[in-house]
Point group: C2
Chain length 315, copies 2
């Protein structure tokens, strides 16, 4: 069987989008498709909606020889196709399949759904993830050093910091940084002075760095005081409206990284994601620790789903 | 002149409301009125709107012998009746009148507008207030110990912590705690699990205390991680929806107080405001410092405006 033959169909099925990957036996991505049929945007309600979204995206991929199908993400949540209970940390990434659940379509296609993870630190508050564990598995595939010890950071609406030790997710934390920034820009008094006026790239970068520098000085509890400076620096004309969003973003990302670095204990940090946001996290890491990320991994979901399928014995 | 004779009309004129006080020479409040004519809700645009709002509220108070009129708050802002520049801290509270500005209505009534304060700490970010300085002046009236050294805390949308030394506002800080709580409850994923289901008062108090306790453990930058626990404690059934708002409120107020106490340096803390919010701050203070506020002062604006008028030589 050549490595251009379809050996696995892998789905990254989130809340607002569905991505499908046609993979070879070795995990090469032969084709990628995406639709807006996230689990909260299905073409019809109930189980039939999941089937319809799946068929619409990659029904034709199944017309030839039958191949296994795996899926990860919110599709396994309580609002998903079938609820797959959380696996408790520490979780060996090679053991995700042990908690997987199977759904079978009316056409007889079996789809193996990956579990999410839960972390309940002693005396602390619980943490949950669903979908990121697949991206983490993909990030670590073929990286024995990172498997031994690393911190995987997945920037986004709710950024996850996962502590990897000996091939397991030892624990993780969630930062609401992305959602908080969107709230402050869109709905708070801070957003009123922010403008989209064309502003030089270096002025924006300076404002972002200034926010990070202020975060570096923060003591416990200082965030709600520091973010108000987004307004007063604008009011007093010390920062123009066109850079206030960058300043506020630097402050929030800076706070997150100051906190996250304390938990990462000097392990190499790997950023997962794409584009401008990861670049910002990399800049903030450099400014706050003197060291950038070990790598930025753009789309590890197909590799993670491939590994999940292989561990489950489907390949 | 008996102490039931009107000697001063004092206005506390904010963004969304206007309050008027008829005061005696000694500062006794003879009558209080309020209207919705805050500076952003005037009956007509421009200067005429201010005059109309003023006449509607207390025109009849001026029908007898003429008495002086003073006002504080947003009425002196750039969006107010006349902009009164900020006074720079440290500011002696007895000197507010030196920066005051006068408006004269078409009927010839003079109104003395109080300035706001600005604080620009060296190497820090600027802070501004407008209206709170009057409440602080009223809180300190007749309180030589607090004038010598205290921290005045004014909970609200944007909570101020003012550092009082030797009768002056030495500096102050603003915490966006109230606005942030409203945003998180009304617009974030955290609000989705919060419910108004009838819940026992002691369960709510316990959840509030639990949020404060978590805030006490926070290191720098931990807020955006800790607030996400509002969701996970709800998701995992460890806290019912009816107490999640209390938990989140405890976390946010706790963070503010942890930060504010570092700046207060052991000075007595005086809370300014009314009702449930001040009670919550008092509880959080007790939990975090072992000591409650020196006092809760409910409505110091009339006393502050009286003092401002007296310092200005109007009484």
């Amino acid at each position: 069987m050549s490595d251009t033959t379809t050996a696995l169909i892998a789905l990254d099925w989130g809340t607002s989008s569905l991505r499908g990957f046609r993979l070879s036996a070795s995990g090469a991505v032969l084709e990628t498709r995406a639709s807006g049929h996230g689990i909260q945007h299905l073409p019809e309600p109930g189980e039939a909606g999941f089937e319809a979204a799946f068929s619409a995206l990659c029904g034709d991929w199944l017309e030839g020889a039958p191949v296994p199908v795996v899926a990860g993400g919110m599709v396994g949540s309580a609002q998903g196709w079938r609820e797959v209970p959380y696996l408790a940390c520490p979780t060996p990434l090679a053991g995700l399949h042990e908690a997987a659940e199977r759904v079978i379509t009316r056409a007889g296609v079996e789809i193996l759904l990956a579990p999410g993870l839960i972390f309940e630190p002693e005396g602390g508050t619980p943490e949950v993830m669903r979908g990121e564990e697949i991206q983490i598995a993909g990030t670590l595939a073929g990286q024995p050093d990172w498997q031994a010890g690393s911190t995987i950071v997945l920037p986004g609406t709710h950024c996850k910091w996962a502590d990897i030790r000996g091939g397991s997710v030892a624990g993780f934390a969630t930062y609401m940084t992305g959602e908080l920034f969107a709230l402050l820009r869109g709905h708070s008094i801070l957003g009123r002075l922010m403008s989209d006026a064309p502003t030089g790239e270096s002025d924006r970068a300076d404002a972002f760095a200034r926010g990070i520098a202020l975060a570096a000085e923060a003591g416990p509890g200082d965030l709600t005081r520091q973010i108000f400076s987004t307004r007063t620096l604008g009011l007093t004309g010390q920062l123009p409206g066109g850079v206030l969003a960058d300043y506020c973003s630097g402050l929030l990302i800076g706070h997150e990284i100051v906190s996250g670095l304390r938990g990462s204990d000097g392990a190499p940090i790997v950023l997962v994601g794409s584009g401008a946001l990861c670049t910002r996290y990399a800049e903030a890491l450099r400014q706050l620790s003197g060291q950038g990320p070990a790598a930025i991994i753009e789309n590890p979901a197909p590799a993670g789903l491939h590994r999940f399928a292989r561990d489950a014995g489907l390949l």
